[in-house]
Symmetry: C2
Subunit: 69 residues, 2 copies
């Protein structure tokens, strides 16, 4: 659990979400919970690659865009 790295990831996810005018509720669908999106944005937890794929899909971006920081 690399907190520093996860912090950057969380900020990136939030940035992409806000840019799209989506709520955490909007992104917390299709196999990922609203709570998980919150925990992630706050870097309070790690995530699996598969869950990142779901989030990317819900944000309508590529997974690699989540790591574009």
């Amino acid at each position: 659990m690399n907190k520093y790295f996860l912090t950057k990831l969380g900020k990136q996810i939030k940035k992409l979400r806000v840019e799209r005018n989506l709520t955490q509720d909007d992104v917390g669908i299709n196999g990922i919970s609203r709570q998980m999106v919150s925990l992630l944005e706050l870097a309070r937890t790690d995530v699996t690659a598969s869950k990142l794929k779901i989030i990317a899909d819900n944000l309508q971006v590529e997974v690699k865009d989540l790591f574009d920081f």
Copy 2:
């Protein structure tokens, strides 16, 4: 656990590793096991973002390069 997605990720990791003439042993350091690298390349398991960061570091690439497929 998105098997299809993980298969592509696994192939990408192997590609980057072989390109650099590294063994699974070489990549399985600094907090990730050799076995985990094998399981990943074969798409037999999921991984956390933090572990992906370690793998990317060991491969001397950016995390987003792991998802460049």
